[in-house]
Each structure stands twice: as structure tokens, then as C-alpha cells.
Subunit: 331 residues, 2 copies
């Protein structure tokens, strides 16, 4: 059975890719980052999991970018301080280092610039950068670790976000079945998945979702062919540029691990991959996909799930008697 | 220096314990559990980290019993569904298997009986057991794993709590410096810590805080000698028995890892160990401790921090298209 499958895949593959070298495919395999400062990334991991970076002492980066469930929160929009309803769907932190800018509207140009945002956003973690610095400076275990990483005792938001970004760079997900196929393992994907990939290219999904992260490289309008009837007030890139023509321009999400990062779109309105593929086909490409085509593309997308980050749950250094108390029930 | 310390400790030790065999100390070293069903514990670990066991899809067992920070949430009282303010301080899950009953008021007689409580409590995770079963049954990865662990596909709350309890049994913290001392390593604790232990016994703290978990074995009244002026409405054991004499009777908390499980008492009103030791001395024992005595006992208590659970962050199986959606913004 395995042998038969293998042979079929080879034949089908030849037909699909018309003899193209793997290097010529528009999607590239993920390469794990080469230059990671391990000590800094370890510190960043602790900070990523530390709820003391929120006013409440309850919300950490990992609350909405939960690494047990694909680096997102699987909610339509996120929950912030005091159970505030967030304005937008939390993008996955997985492979975010591969995106050309951060946030749906691209308002941060680096992981480091991004990391400071939610900490101080009153609707998210609701702390201030000054208080974050004060809290961390009051924790002897952090003081020691910052010194080891940065050479002296200073703890400021620049170093905090630098460490978090270094950790986030490690959160790539290589070795998906599709990447194995790209690298020459013809048995790694099924016929249905390959058929889906062919449609993904033929229909033009690939024009936005390409490269190592299968997206994350451009802004595009949500609703290019058919208007997107949004329930959410989020306007995308317009909020950054102020230009009317940037209304509904969003960073194209990366599709790595998309099987895990439901619900979909900037407003989380598509609950399933089937729905997301259907909407994308109609609104972006003017195509109504058949059930078979849709199922094939969904199957292909599920082959993009890679190795999830595997590390020991970090242990956080305890607060000292001088550590400012969390204020969970203050506005 | 190390040698000198060692010699001093031996002399001091002889004086403190009056030549007693280690086996005769009222505090016993933690022994890791022997009979763990590993597959069941692995499943329980996933469930412990799974926010889909809450109505919101945001709160997991680990939210309030956070294993990165000592198995508690380091908040005065916990945050529940819709940011409700909990009535009581979250007890640590670490070493909870060693307690004679569960919850501050002892209303559950086993870890398994405890685990179902917060899932269905409208002020905590706010789900129903029926919906928890429905959600898990809709997730193919869980169906497979429950079958592997229990022999068939059935997923019910009995099995869910059984698995969570099995995981919780693994959450013991052996190898604290104090346990090493108990086991004969005279260098494992400092003179100050040993002096604190002697006071802990001489003053009578030991009469409630003894055994493997240094507590967790009896109910006692908060405010035995001097009345406890509570701001919290929690009445302890009275809520279970209905008897007036059980007002303010609480399960004696275990003091393992107490350095990590601030703030203290059932209402979280003591922010520091220094404060907690002072209040306990006055209210339970009628003793006003000197600063030196207090510092010695605090030092001893900090020697009770053991090996924290070390495991790889669990990866949760993704929902299917049939999985009931979380309802974070419903009451």
C-alpha cells in the first residue's frame, strides 16, 4: 500500500510541477534560524510567559499567543485586561520572524518593536513600560539574568523587548510534511494535498501566500474582487497611514500551521478552513470553488503544519518583598 | 569557606536536633510518587493546559495554578470567567496530592473530585461538564488519546478528572535543600535556616505544619489565640458543614515552595512571608516574634523550595470543524 501510494505520488508530482526543480517552487521550506543568542532567548522565554508584565498579573504574552495551541488564542478576537474585548484576531507568533512587518496593519517593523505594544496597551496587558521595568528590577532572579545576558544590571524596555524578540525568532516550525515534499520526499504528502497545492497556484492564492512563511510578505486588500462585509470596525493599514485607499489593507497572514490558528481573518469571522478558503476564493479571486477543490486546498493547507516549538515550561524567578503588586481589579 | 560552613553546620545541627535520627523529625522528605500511569498523566497534562475546558476558551487549570510560578497565580484572589473576582486565594497545585482533602474548606476528598469543580464553577471556568465532554469528543486527537489510555472512545467527566488528577500526582517537588538536610546532607542548609527550623518547632508552628507536605493534614481555625479580622467573606469549613463552630476553620496550607506561592492565607491578605509569619505567630500562637526570629523562620521556609515540575510544554490537539465554539463574551 505504501509503495503504491509512493509511485502514484511520483507520477502525479511530475505532472503537477512539470519537472520543475524544488528550488523553483514559490513556497520555500522553513530554515531554522542560525544565529540565536541562546542566553538572551532563554531570558526572553521567561518574559514571554511572565504574567507580571501585565497590570493584572494574570496575562502574559503566552495568554494570547499560546504556544500550546499554535501561537494564537483560537478566539475570534482576544481578551485583554479586565476582560476587554480586543479589536482584532491575535496573529500567531509562530514564524512571525519571517513576516516583513508585525501586526495586521504593519505598524511595527520588527519583532522588538512589536513586543512593547501589548504590554502597554490599555486594552491588552495594560501596564506601562516604566512599571514593567520597575517590576523586573525588583526581582533578583531577573537582575542576575539580565546582567548575564547584557553585561550589566540595567533592565529597561529596550532590553526586555530585545530578549522577547530573540525568543520569538526561535519560534519557527520546520519539517512540515509539505516542506519535506519540497525537499524531495515524494511520499510526504498525499495526492489530495498535491492537487490542492496545484489549485493553490493555479487559482492565484500563491500570488499573496508565497515564500518561506506562505504569506506575511505584503499588504493586500481584504475584498479585492467582491466587497468584504465586515462586522468589525478594524480598517487595517488606514489606521497607520491615514489614507482612504489603505482601508481594509491588511498584512497577508502567513499560512504556516493554519490548521492550528483558527478562527481566520483579521476579525476571526471564518470559523473553519473550509469557510476561509471559500471566502478567499470569492472575495480575492472571484472564484466559487467546488467542494472538491475546496477540500483539496484545505488538505494542502493542513500539510503546512510543522514541528511546534518544544521546550521545557520555563520557571520564573519569584517576586521579592519590594515587587510592586499586581492590580487585577483596577480599571 | 565551604568547609568552615560545613563544620559549623554539623555542630549547630547536633545542638538543634539533640542527636535525633532524621526519621524522627516531624517534617519528612518528599518521596516522588511510585505508581503513575504515564499515558494517563500525559493526557491529564494536556487537559490541565487546555483553555477549551472553559466557556471563554481562555482559562485553563494552568491559568490559576500556573506551573511556571509555583502552581498558583500569585494573586490575592483569582480571576474567573468574565474577569469575576474569586472568593479565595488559589492554593498551589504543587504537592496537593499530599493533602488529606482538597480546597481550603476541604469540600473535595480527592484530586479527582476537586478537578471537576472549577471547570463547572460559574465564577471560574464557567463551562458545564456536559459541554466539556462534547468539546473533547469533537477533537480527534483527544478521542485517540482517551482510547489509548482508557481502552475505548468514551470521554466523560469521570475520565477527564481522573486524567487531570493523575497528572497532578506528578506535581511533587522533592530535593528541596531542607529535604537534603533531612536526608543527611549537613551542608544543604545554613545556620540561619536551621535556627529558623528550631524556632518553627519550639514555637509550635510544627503542630499544624508537619509531615511530608509541611501542612495539608488537618483543619485549623484561622485566629486561634487572637481573632482574625477578615475582609473576605470566606468562612471556611462552615460552608461545608453548616456548623457555626467551623467558621474560619481552613485546611492548613502546605508550606512546600511557600517562597513561590505569595500572597498568603485563604484571602491572600499577607503579601510577604515576613508578614505571614508575624500574623501566624500572633494569631495562632500568641507570640510576637522578634525581627531576628521572624527572619530565621522565613529563611527556613525558603529552604522548602524543591525541584519544580520539569516537562515539555504540552501541544494540544486542534479542534475540528464540529467543536463547539468558545463564548468568551457571554455572561
Amino acid at each position: 500500500m505504501a509503495v503504491k501510494k509512493c509511485v502514484t505520488a511520483v507520477i502525479f508530482l511530475a505532472a503537477t510541477t512539470a519537472g520543475a526543480a524544488w528550488a523553483e517552487e514559490p513556497i520555500k521550506p522553513i530554515t531554522p534560524p542560525k544565529e540565536i543568542n541562546q542566553a538572551k532567548a532563554e531570558l526572553g522565554k521567561k518574559l514571554f510567559f511572565d504574567p507580571r508584565l501585565s497590570k493584572s498579573g494574570f496575562i502574559s504574552c503566552n495568554s494570547c499567543h499560546n504556544l500550546s495551541i499554535g501561537g494564537s488564542d483560537n478566539l475570534k478576537t482576544s481578551i485583554g485586561h479586565n476582560w476587554q474585548k480586543g479589536p482584532i484576531n491575535a496573529p500567531t507568533v509562530l514564524n512571525s520572524s519571517l513576516s516583513f512587518v508585525q501586526f495586521w496593519d504593519g505598524r511595527a517593523d520588527s519583532l522588538k518593536a512589536q513586543a512593547g505594544g501589548p504590554i502597554a496597551n490599555p486594552g491588552e496587558m495594560a501596564l506601562t513600560h516604566a512599571l514593567a521595568e520597575g517590576i523586573l528590577t525588583s526581582i533578583p532572579g531577573y537582575v542576575t539574568e539580565f546582567k548575564q545576558v547584557f553585561g550589566d544590571n540595567k533592565i529597561d524596555i529596550d532590553r526586555v523587548t530585545d530578549a522577547i524578540a530573540e525568543f520569538e525568532k526561535t519560534l519557527v516550525t520546520p519539517n512540515s510534511r509539505f516542506d519535506k515534499w519540497l525537499l524531495g520526499d515524494v511520499k510526504a504528502v498525499t495526492e489530495q494535498e498535491l492537487a490542492g497545492y496545484k489549485l493553490f497556484k493555479d487559482f492565484g492564492c500563491i500570488s499573496c501566500h508565497y515564500g518561506e512563511s506562505v504569506g506575511g510578505g505584503t499588504f493586500h486588500k481584504m475584498g479585492m474582487v467582491e466587497e468584504y462585509k465586515a462586522k468589525s470596525p478594524a480598517e487595517g493599514r488606514k489606521a497607520v497611514t491615514g489614507k482612504d485607499e489603505d482601508r481594509f489593507m491588511f498584512k497577508v497572514p502567513n499560512l504556516r500551521n493554519v490548521e492550528l490558528t483558527y478562527p481566520y481573518f483579521h476579525d476571526g469571522e471564518a470559523e473553519t478552513l473550509t469557510e476561509a478558503v471559500d471566502v478567499m476564493g470569492r472575495l480575492q479571486l472571484g472564484k466559487k470553488l467546488s467542494d472538491t477543490e475546496n477540500a483539496q486546498i484545505v488538505a494542502f493547507l493542513k500539510s503546512l503544519t510543522g514541528d511546534q516549538p518544544a521546550f521545557t515550561l520555563p520557571m520564573l524567578p519569584p517576586s521579592s518583598d519590594k515587587t510592586p503588586q499586581p492590580k487585577p481589579f483596577e480599571e
